[in-house]
Amino acid sequence: MQNLLRVKTSYEAVDDLIQREIGNAVTANDTTTELAWAQRKDLNDYAFFVVLFAQFERIAKEKFRQARDTRTANVDWRQRRGWDGPLFSSDRAPFPDQLAAVLDRQTDEYRRIMRYYEDRNHVAHGGLTNQVASIDLLASDLQMIAALLRA
Protein backbone atom coordinates (compact mmCIF):
# COMPACT_ATOMS: atom_id res chain seq x y z
CA MET A 1 0.00 0.00 0.00
CA GLN A 2 2.94 2.29 0.76
CA ASN A 3 4.11 2.23 -2.87
CA LEU A 4 0.59 3.00 -4.11
CA LEU A 5 0.65 6.14 -1.97
CA ARG A 6 4.16 7.04 -3.12
CA VAL A 7 3.13 6.82 -6.76
CA LYS A 8 0.09 9.00 -6.07
CA THR A 9 2.24 11.61 -4.31
CA SER A 10 4.63 11.64 -7.26
CA TYR A 11 1.69 12.04 -9.65
CA GLU A 12 0.37 15.05 -7.75
CA ALA A 13 3.77 16.77 -7.87
CA VAL A 14 4.12 16.28 -11.64
CA ASP A 15 0.47 17.05 -12.36
CA ASP A 16 0.65 20.31 -10.38
CA LEU A 17 3.42 21.49 -12.72
CA ILE A 18 1.40 20.57 -15.82
CA GLN A 19 -1.70 22.20 -14.34
CA ARG A 20 0.21 25.44 -13.85
CA GLU A 21 1.06 25.50 -17.56
CA ILE A 22 -2.57 24.81 -18.51
CA GLY A 23 -3.76 27.53 -16.13
CA ASN A 24 -1.30 30.05 -17.60
CA ALA A 25 -2.47 29.20 -21.13
CA VAL A 26 -6.15 29.58 -20.15
CA THR A 27 -5.40 32.96 -18.53
CA ALA A 28 -3.54 34.09 -21.66
CA ASN A 29 -6.35 32.68 -23.88
CA ASP A 30 -3.64 30.75 -25.74
CA THR A 31 -5.63 27.77 -27.04
CA THR A 32 -2.71 26.18 -28.90
CA THR A 33 -0.51 26.01 -25.80
CA GLU A 34 -3.48 24.93 -23.67
CA LEU A 35 -4.23 21.98 -25.98
CA ALA A 36 -0.57 20.97 -26.15
CA TRP A 37 -0.36 20.79 -22.34
CA ALA A 38 -3.76 19.09 -22.10
CA GLN A 39 -2.43 16.35 -24.40
CA ARG A 40 0.72 16.02 -22.30
CA LYS A 41 -1.49 15.73 -19.23
CA ASP A 42 -3.55 12.95 -20.79
CA LEU A 43 -0.40 11.00 -21.72
CA ASN A 44 1.01 11.52 -18.23
CA ASP A 45 -2.27 10.23 -16.77
CA TYR A 46 -2.01 7.08 -18.93
CA ALA A 47 1.52 6.45 -17.65
CA PHE A 48 0.55 6.87 -14.01
CA PHE A 49 -2.56 4.74 -14.49
CA VAL A 50 -0.39 1.81 -15.60
CA VAL A 51 2.06 2.27 -12.70
CA LEU A 52 -0.75 2.65 -10.13
CA PHE A 53 -2.54 -0.44 -11.36
CA ALA A 54 0.73 -2.39 -11.29
CA GLN A 55 1.06 -1.50 -7.60
CA PHE A 56 -2.50 -2.67 -6.93
CA GLU A 57 -1.76 -5.90 -8.81
CA ARG A 58 1.29 -6.47 -6.63
CA ILE A 59 -0.76 -5.99 -3.45
CA ALA A 60 -3.45 -8.39 -4.69
CA LYS A 61 -0.88 -11.03 -5.67
CA GLU A 62 0.83 -10.77 -2.29
CA LYS A 63 -2.53 -11.23 -0.54
CA PHE A 64 -3.20 -14.20 -2.77
CA ARG A 65 0.17 -15.80 -1.88
CA GLN A 66 -0.50 -15.29 1.83
CA ALA A 67 -3.94 -16.89 1.52
CA ARG A 68 -2.62 -19.81 -0.53
CA ASP A 69 0.39 -20.50 1.68
CA THR A 70 -1.69 -20.39 4.86
CA ARG A 71 -4.32 -22.73 3.49
CA THR A 72 -2.01 -25.21 1.78
CA ALA A 73 -0.03 -25.52 5.04
CA ASN A 74 -3.19 -26.48 6.91
CA VAL A 75 -3.44 -30.19 7.74
CA ASP A 76 -7.22 -29.98 7.64
CA TRP A 77 -8.30 -30.83 4.10
CA ARG A 78 -11.45 -28.73 4.55
CA GLN A 79 -9.17 -25.66 4.76
CA ARG A 80 -6.82 -26.86 2.00
CA ARG A 81 -9.37 -27.96 -0.57
CA GLY A 82 -9.10 -26.10 -3.86
CA TRP A 83 -6.03 -24.18 -2.75
CA ASP A 84 -3.47 -26.94 -3.25
CA GLY A 85 -4.49 -27.76 -6.81
CA PRO A 86 -2.39 -27.08 -9.92
CA LEU A 87 -4.07 -23.73 -10.72
CA PHE A 88 -2.87 -22.08 -7.52
CA SER A 89 0.33 -24.01 -6.86
CA SER A 90 2.50 -21.60 -8.84
CA ASP A 91 2.31 -17.83 -9.01
CA ARG A 92 1.28 -18.10 -12.64
CA ALA A 93 -2.44 -18.34 -12.05
CA PRO A 94 -4.20 -15.67 -14.12
CA PHE A 95 -4.71 -12.37 -12.29
CA PRO A 96 -8.55 -12.62 -12.36
CA ASP A 97 -8.34 -16.00 -10.59
CA GLN A 98 -5.86 -14.73 -8.01
CA LEU A 99 -8.05 -11.68 -7.41
CA ALA A 100 -11.18 -13.82 -7.03
CA ALA A 101 -9.40 -15.71 -4.25
CA VAL A 102 -8.99 -12.53 -2.18
CA LEU A 103 -11.97 -10.39 -3.27
CA ASP A 104 -15.60 -11.47 -3.70
CA ARG A 105 -16.32 -11.80 -7.43
CA GLN A 106 -19.95 -10.86 -6.83
CA THR A 107 -19.13 -7.31 -5.79
CA ASP A 108 -18.97 -4.01 -7.66
CA GLU A 109 -15.38 -3.66 -6.45
CA TYR A 110 -14.31 -6.87 -8.21
CA ARG A 111 -16.10 -5.80 -11.39
CA ARG A 112 -14.44 -2.37 -11.27
CA ILE A 113 -10.98 -3.90 -10.88
CA MET A 114 -11.64 -6.17 -13.85
CA ARG A 115 -12.64 -3.14 -15.94
CA TYR A 116 -9.45 -1.33 -14.87
CA TYR A 117 -7.51 -4.51 -15.68
CA GLU A 118 -8.87 -4.57 -19.23
CA ASP A 119 -8.09 -0.86 -19.63
CA ARG A 120 -4.62 -1.35 -18.20
CA ASN A 121 -3.94 -4.14 -20.69
CA HIS A 122 -5.21 -1.91 -23.49
CA VAL A 123 -2.94 0.98 -22.49
CA ALA A 124 0.08 -1.21 -21.71
CA HIS A 125 -0.07 -2.61 -25.25
CA GLY A 126 -0.16 0.79 -26.88
CA GLY A 127 -3.90 1.54 -26.88
CA LEU A 128 -4.76 5.17 -26.34
CA THR A 129 -8.47 5.07 -27.21
CA ASN A 130 -10.15 5.97 -23.92
CA GLN A 131 -8.55 8.63 -21.75
CA VAL A 132 -8.26 8.34 -17.98
CA ALA A 133 -11.20 10.03 -16.23
CA SER A 134 -9.16 11.12 -13.22
CA ILE A 135 -6.05 9.67 -11.61
CA ASP A 136 -7.18 11.18 -8.29
CA LEU A 137 -10.41 9.16 -8.39
CA LEU A 138 -8.73 6.01 -9.68
CA ALA A 139 -6.02 6.10 -7.03
CA SER A 140 -8.51 6.50 -4.19
CA ASP A 141 -10.65 3.67 -5.59
CA LEU A 142 -7.62 1.37 -5.87
CA GLN A 143 -6.60 2.22 -2.28
CA MET A 144 -10.12 1.57 -1.00
CA ILE A 145 -10.35 -1.78 -2.80
CA ALA A 146 -6.82 -2.80 -1.74
CA ALA A 147 -7.98 -2.43 1.87
CA LEU A 148 -10.83 -4.89 1.17
CA LEU A 149 -8.54 -7.71 0.00
CA ARG A 150 -8.54 -10.68 2.39
CA ALA A 151 -5.76 -13.23 2.68
Binding site: E12, D15, D16, I18, Q19, R20, I22, G23, V26, T27, N29, E34, A38, K41, F49, D108, Y116, D119, V123, T129, N130, Q131, V132, A133, S134, D136, L137, L138, S140, D141
Partner: protein, 113 residues
Protein backbone atom coordinates in the same frame (compact mmCIF):
# COMPACT_ATOMS: atom_id res chain seq x y z
CA UNK B 1 -24.62 21.84 -18.16
CA UNK B 2 -28.00 23.25 -17.05
CA UNK B 3 -27.05 22.94 -13.38
CA UNK B 4 -23.67 24.59 -13.95
CA UNK B 5 -25.32 27.47 -15.84
CA UNK B 6 -27.87 27.98 -13.08
CA UNK B 7 -25.21 27.96 -10.35
CA UNK B 8 -23.11 30.57 -12.16
CA UNK B 9 -26.10 32.83 -12.92
CA UNK B 10 -27.32 32.65 -9.32
CA UNK B 11 -23.85 33.79 -8.23
CA UNK B 12 -24.05 36.79 -10.54
CA UNK B 13 -21.77 35.35 -13.22
CA UNK B 14 -22.22 35.26 -16.96
CA UNK B 15 -22.46 32.16 -19.14
CA UNK B 16 -21.95 32.17 -22.90
CA UNK B 17 -23.02 28.85 -24.39
CA UNK B 18 -21.64 27.70 -27.72
CA UNK B 19 -20.85 24.40 -29.39
CA UNK B 20 -17.81 22.29 -30.19
CA UNK B 21 -18.56 21.34 -33.80
CA UNK B 22 -18.28 17.74 -34.99
CA UNK B 23 -17.18 16.23 -31.68
CA UNK B 24 -16.48 12.52 -31.84
CA UNK B 25 -14.61 9.80 -29.99
CA UNK B 26 -12.44 7.07 -31.45
CA UNK B 27 -14.75 4.35 -30.16
CA UNK B 28 -17.82 6.06 -31.67
CA UNK B 29 -16.06 6.48 -35.02
CA UNK B 30 -15.19 2.79 -34.96
CA UNK B 31 -18.92 2.00 -34.88
CA UNK B 32 -19.76 4.60 -37.56
CA UNK B 33 -21.54 6.93 -35.13
CA UNK B 34 -21.56 10.35 -36.77
CA UNK B 35 -19.77 13.24 -35.09
CA UNK B 36 -22.14 15.62 -33.35
CA UNK B 37 -21.97 19.19 -32.03
CA UNK B 38 -21.49 19.33 -28.26
CA UNK B 39 -22.37 22.22 -25.95
CA UNK B 40 -19.60 24.16 -24.25
CA UNK B 41 -19.72 27.10 -21.87
CA UNK B 42 -17.56 30.17 -21.49
CA UNK B 43 -18.00 31.47 -17.96
CA UNK B 44 -17.12 34.77 -16.37
CA UNK B 45 -17.52 35.36 -12.64
CA UNK B 46 -16.17 38.77 -11.68
CA UNK B 47 -12.82 39.03 -13.44
CA UNK B 48 -12.35 35.27 -13.58
CA UNK B 49 -12.75 33.38 -16.87
CA UNK B 50 -13.25 29.63 -17.30
CA UNK B 51 -14.31 27.16 -19.97
CA UNK B 52 -16.50 24.08 -19.53
CA UNK B 53 -16.11 21.44 -22.23
CA UNK B 54 -17.50 17.91 -22.36
CA UNK B 55 -14.55 15.60 -22.87
CA UNK B 56 -16.03 12.22 -23.60
CA UNK B 57 -18.23 9.32 -22.56
CA UNK B 58 -15.72 6.51 -22.85
CA UNK B 59 -13.15 7.18 -20.18
CA UNK B 60 -11.21 4.90 -17.86
CA UNK B 61 -12.76 4.95 -14.40
CA UNK B 62 -15.97 6.83 -15.09
CA UNK B 63 -19.11 7.15 -17.20
CA UNK B 64 -18.05 10.43 -18.68
CA UNK B 65 -15.84 13.43 -18.13
CA UNK B 66 -16.38 17.17 -18.42
CA UNK B 67 -13.34 19.45 -18.26
CA UNK B 68 -13.42 22.80 -16.49
CA UNK B 69 -10.46 24.86 -17.63
CA UNK B 70 -9.53 27.62 -15.22
CA UNK B 71 -6.58 29.83 -14.35
CA UNK B 72 -5.49 27.11 -11.89
CA UNK B 73 -5.52 24.34 -14.49
CA UNK B 74 -8.08 21.78 -15.59
CA UNK B 75 -10.61 20.32 -13.16
CA UNK B 76 -12.32 17.12 -14.16
CA UNK B 77 -15.98 16.48 -13.47
CA UNK B 78 -16.42 12.71 -13.53
CA UNK B 79 -19.62 10.69 -13.29
CA UNK B 80 -18.76 7.64 -11.19
CA UNK B 81 -22.27 6.15 -10.98
CA UNK B 82 -22.90 2.67 -12.31
CA UNK B 83 -23.99 2.73 -15.96
CA UNK B 84 -27.68 3.58 -16.50
CA UNK B 85 -28.14 4.85 -12.95
CA UNK B 86 -28.50 8.38 -11.54
CA UNK B 87 -25.33 10.38 -12.25
CA UNK B 88 -22.97 10.94 -9.33
CA UNK B 89 -20.51 13.68 -10.24
CA UNK B 90 -17.21 14.20 -8.47
CA UNK B 91 -14.69 16.94 -9.11
CA UNK B 92 -10.92 16.44 -9.12
CA UNK B 93 -8.01 18.71 -9.86
CA UNK B 94 -5.34 20.87 -8.25
CA UNK B 95 -6.13 21.24 -4.55
CA UNK B 96 -9.01 18.75 -4.86
CA UNK B 97 -7.05 15.51 -4.88
CA UNK B 98 -9.67 13.75 -2.75
CA UNK B 99 -12.24 14.37 -5.54
CA UNK B 100 -15.27 15.47 -3.47
CA UNK B 101 -18.87 15.35 -4.77
CA UNK B 102 -19.80 18.20 -7.11
CA UNK B 103 -21.97 20.94 -5.60
CA UNK B 104 -22.82 24.54 -6.44
CA UNK B 105 -20.47 25.88 -3.76
CA UNK B 106 -17.62 23.68 -4.88
CA UNK B 107 -18.10 24.53 -8.54
CA UNK B 108 -17.99 28.26 -7.78
CA UNK B 109 -14.88 27.69 -5.64
CA UNK B 110 -13.24 25.92 -8.60
CA UNK B 111 -14.11 28.80 -10.93
CA UNK B 112 -12.81 31.46 -8.57
CA UNK B 113 -9.60 29.56 -7.83
Amino acid sequence: MADLTQWVCEAGGQVSPSTIPGKSEELLAEYDVSPTDMPKLDIRVGNVFAKVEPFGLWVIGGNGRVDVKTRRGVFKLVDIALPFTQAHWRVAGPGLRDAPPLSAALFLQVLRG
